[in-house]
């Protein structure tokens, strides 16, 4: 191992390979002599393999090649690691490493990938799926076509239709086209009443079950394997008719033609079908858009103005929170780090109560206490003589409230940290200063403070990074409000970058724009990374730790 790097990570570690791996030629990893340990391992590996194979198989069935590849890779690596006689450290690292790779590193990389696409509402999937969706959405009932008596049937949670076509009953679902059901019986009304292998859904139940109703209205059962034949749909659950798409897809020319109007929609580079008039079909697909999301964040008037203000507020919020709570915590630590004060343990316990109270509860609690109506809100009633002060609905007061609530939440943390740091200051240095005639202020300024800052700077920076993304406090206290009046985006005066990303990402519902949200995430990643990088350089904590 080269030792030229400035950071020495090897440390004083020098471990010989364990006896089991030397000479005997057989790893204990494959020995029965391991006893119960080996049996446990074998059982665990069997379970892991079973789960992996199951996942891989259903990925294959669904055609999710990425997941299939991932499952196979994980299985191969896991089996190799645990049944090999090498790779001893990996045996210990692998479980955590796999989770880290899939749920942290992969998602960060994937954020980067999504940031360069137009992924979001209207651009959700591949072109193939977009074509299917467009064809379905443009389905119209064939003019003057026959209607068939229809019965809703069900099997294992899958809903299907049984229609009577002449003397024949035919059954199908969204997945499987209509097929004859020879032994089915037909009732007096001419509808299928008993279909072997299927449960007939009573009409009464259809009327009462809202969710089932919606499912039935959405359901389209293909008439045959050929999409050109159209599909059966129903409007009321008792009769079905054939619907045909008014669009025609030509895969070679990459065009959609509206058979009713003759308008031709061509696939364009933006992942949409557009006509010559610039009209587009509602369903598009995902395509790479380069830096468009990044430029849109800066130039689109809906986002650019708010983005600037939100970035400024994010920085001020994080800095002010850290500064105020650190100062209050420091002052308290200095004041009460005094052996002459009695009952310091009790005081300490009382001081850190807010920190031990779960933060999401604190935020909601303060939301209630800051209610402007003095009949409701404790703060106005107790401290402001029942005045009507709109703590959470005035832009500046809302910001002030957030800072103050966060101060309440986090000063105990800094009190604990500073107390610990003060107690670990070397006594002899302080004594030497005293002997040299340094006064309290002088000692504090030139000895205590610098030493204290050395040990707390990494935590200050970590805390800054944490608050930079302190979603919970913002979302639970003000919800980002009050809203900006001059933008249509759902953003407000107290939104920070992470809550802005949340609002425009659409993961909570509404119009989704994963691409733009990911682009903003990447920007925040860069900010956080830069700050953390500076932090490490500043404190050289790396060397201590490693």
């Amino acid at each position: 191992m080269s030792r030229q790097d400035t950071i020495d990570l090897t440390g004083p570690i020098d471990v010989e390979p364990p006896l089991g791996e030397r000479g005997t030629g057989e790893s204990h990893a494959r020995r029965w002599t391991g006893g119960w340990g080996f049996v446990a391992k074998l059982t665990l590996m069997a379970l892991v393999n079973a789960a992996g194979v199951a996942l891989g198989w259903s990925a294959y069935v669904e055609g999710s090649w990425g997941i299939l590849l991932g499952a196979v890779a994980i299985l191969v690596v896991t089996n190799w690691v645990y049944f090999s006689r090498r790779a001893l450290p990996l045996k210990y690292l692998l479980p955590g490493l796999l989770f880290l790779l899939v749920f942290q590193l992969f998602t960060i990389v994937y954020t980067g990938v999504v940031a360069f696409t137009n992924y979001g509402t209207g651009h959700n999937s591949t072109q193939e799926q977009a074509v299917d969706a467009a064809l379905i959405q443009s389905e119209r009932r064939v003019e003057g076509s026959e209607t068939y008596p229809l019965t809703v049937v069900e099997r294992l949670g899958t809903v299907g239709f049984a229609i009577v076509d002449g003397d024949e009953v035919r059954v199908g679902t969204a997945e499987s086209p209509l097929a004859a059901a020879p032994d089915a019986s037909v009732d007096d009304a001419g509808r299928a009443s008993d279909v072997p292998g299927w449960d007939v859904v009573a009409y009464q139940r259809l009327l009462e079950d809202q969710a089932l109703q919606e499912e039935v209205l959405e359901l389209r059962v293909p008439v045959s394997d050929d999409a050109e034949d159209g599909s059966i749909r129903t409007r009321e659950g008792t009769t079905g008719a054939i619907y045909l798409s008014t669009l025609e897809w030509d895969p070679d020319a990459q065009t959609m033609t509206d058979t009713a109007t003759g308008v031709v929609y061509r696939a364009n580079d933006d992942g949409q079908f557009s006509s010559d008039d610039g009209e587009t079909l509602p369903v598009g697909w995902r395509v790479g858009v380069g830096f468009e999301n990044f430029t849109r964040a800066i130039t689109d008037t809906d986002y650019s103005g708010p983005l600037l203000r939100i970035t400024a507020w994010t920085f001020s919020f994080a800095i002010l929170t850290v500064a105020t709570s650190f100062l209050v915590g420091l002052v308290l630590a200095l004041v009460f780090n005094d052996a002459r004060v009695r009952g310091r343990n009790v005081l300490r316990t009382l001081f850190i109560l807010p920190y031990a109270f779960p933060a999401f509860l604190s935020a909601l609690l303060w939301q209630g206490m800051l209610n402007p109506n003095a009949d409701y809100g404790l703060i106005n009633d107790w401290f402001f003589f029942g005045a009507y002060i709109p703590w959470l609905t005035d832009p500046w007061l809302a910001k002030l409230s957030i800072i103050l609530v966060n101060l309440w939440l986090s000063f105990p943390y800094w009190f604990l940290i500073c107390t610990g740091a003060l107690q670990s200051l070397p006594d002899d240095v302080l004594e030497a200063a005293k002997i040299d005639g340094a006064g309290t202020w002088r000692t504090w300024r030139t000895i205590i403070m610098p030493l204290l800052l050395i040990s707390t700077t990494p935590l200050l920076i970590a805390s800054f990074a944490f608050n930079f993304n302190n979603f919970a406090i913002i979302y639970l206290l003000t919800g980002g409000g009050p809203r900006f009046p001059d933008t249509s985006a759902p953003l407000g005066h107290t939104d920070i970058l992470i809550s802005m990303i949340y609002q425009i990402s659409g993961v909570a519902g509404g119009r989704a724009d994963y691409g733009l949200a990911s682009a903003l995430s990447i920007i925040v990643f860069v900010i956080i990374g830069t700050i953390s990088g500076l932090a490490f350089r500043r404190t050289r904590r790396l060397e201590e730790v490693l």
């Binding site: 191992m1 790097d5 950071i7 990570l9 570690i13 471990v15 364990p18 006896l19 089991g20 996942l55 990925a59 999710s64 997941i67 210990y92 690292l93 479980p95 955590g96 490493l97 749920f103 960060i108 994937y110 999504v114 308290l332 009460f336 005094d338 002459r340 004060v341 009382l350 001081f351 850190i352 109560l353 920190y355 031990a356 779960p358 999401f360 509860l361 909601l364 609690l365 939301q367 209630g368 209610n371 409701y376 404790l378 009633d381 943390y413 970590a462 805390s463 990074a465 944490f466 993304n469 919970a472 979302y475 990303i501 949340y502 990402s505 995430s521 956080i528 990374g529 490490f536 730790v545």
Partner: protein, 302 residues
């Protein structure tokens, strides 16, 4: 208090003067700290006293709940039974415990490997972990959401609205945040112990499970507790991933009470807060000595 110096026999007057001086010095240097402490304690505790009072009040609304302990009843606590509160509480505890146990196991094995074996990529691995730790997982929530949609199409148990999926997501962050905390601690366990055991013929697995893990129990407890508290309090990932009411955690569920009808649900919220916070408060206060040590190594809040 500064120990009073025993003064040899003196005349009454200077002694009285000295006592007065001493008292004013005590007031100047120490005495004022008590009223100051009272102010701080009031600031720290009044919201909690208030929520306790609201939880015990007969009325369940926010209106007129600004005076303390005017009525005492358990009505609000009983009303919790008519909601999904207990389901959410169980979800929170199950998810928190599973994440805590998983984090401890993964972090400890990784720390053991880094601390006891020398292997190629060890240095790089540690640095990579340190860098991965800098990037908050929740910033990638869009990608996590999309990943879970894709996984859910293949295996619903790993998809959206699955508690197992949420636990997996939390475990994804376990290695980055905990390994260093544990690594430092593992290094303090003398390696002579391992070597002695090795000479006696113990395998690395035996050394790990029977020797090392027992000696590092304090750090295991700290990491487990911190990760439980962190998971218990997480809002954003739980909110995104758990979509159906019966799968919610306390953070998500109690938010919906207050976000829609703050006034009407205030009693429920207060009672729920008391129940949800008391175990965490007790754990925290009981183990604060250890937690402070853990905090200085990895900040979780603040």
């Amino acid at each position: 208090m500064a120990g009073p110096v025993t003064v040899p026999a003196q005349t009454a007057a200077p002694r009285r003067r000295r006592t007065r001086e001493r008292r004013s010095r005590w007031l100047r240097e120490v005495g004022w700290k008590y009223p100051f402490a009272a102010v701080v304690v009031f600031y720290a505790a009044f919201p909690l006293v208030y929520v306790l009072s609201a939880a015990l009040a007969t009325t369940g609304t926010l209106t007129g709940s600004t005076s303390l302990f005017t009525s005492i009843s358990t009505a609000n606590f009983e009303a919790l039974g008519g909601t999904l509160f207990w389901v959410w509480a169980v979800n929170s505890v199950v998810i928190g415990l599973a994440t805590a146990i998983g984090s401890v196991l993964m972090g400890a094995t990784a720390a053991y490997a880094f601390s006891r074996f020398s292997f190629r990529g060890r240095r790089g691995g540690l640095t990579a972990l340190l860098i991965a730790q800098m990037f908050p997982q929740m910033l990638a929530f869009v990608a996590i959401f999309l990943l879970l949609i894709a996984l859910g199409n293949v295996a619903p148990v790993l998809g959206l609205d699955s508690k197992i999926a949420l636990i997996c997501v939390y475990l994804g962050g376990a290695l980055g945040t905990n390994t260093f905390l544990m690594y430092g601690f593992f290094n303090t366990v003398p390696k002579e112990l391992d070597e002695a055991a090795k000479i006696d013929g113990a395998t690395h697995a035996q050394i790990y499970w029977t020797i090392i893990l027992r000696l590092v129990t304090p750090i295991l407890a700290v990491v487990g507790l911190l990760s439980f508290i962190g998971t218990f309090g997480d809002f954003i990932l739980a909110r995104i991933i758990l979509t159906s009411q019966s799968n919610w955690t306390l953070a998500v569920g109690m938010y919906t009470w207050v976000s829609s009808q703050l006034n009407a649900n205030w009693g429920l919220f207060a009672a729920g807060s008391v129940i949800a916070s008391i175990p965490v408060l007790l754990l925290f206060l009981g183990l604060q000595k250890y937690i402070v040590g853990g905090l200085t190594a990895g900040s979780v809040k603040g």
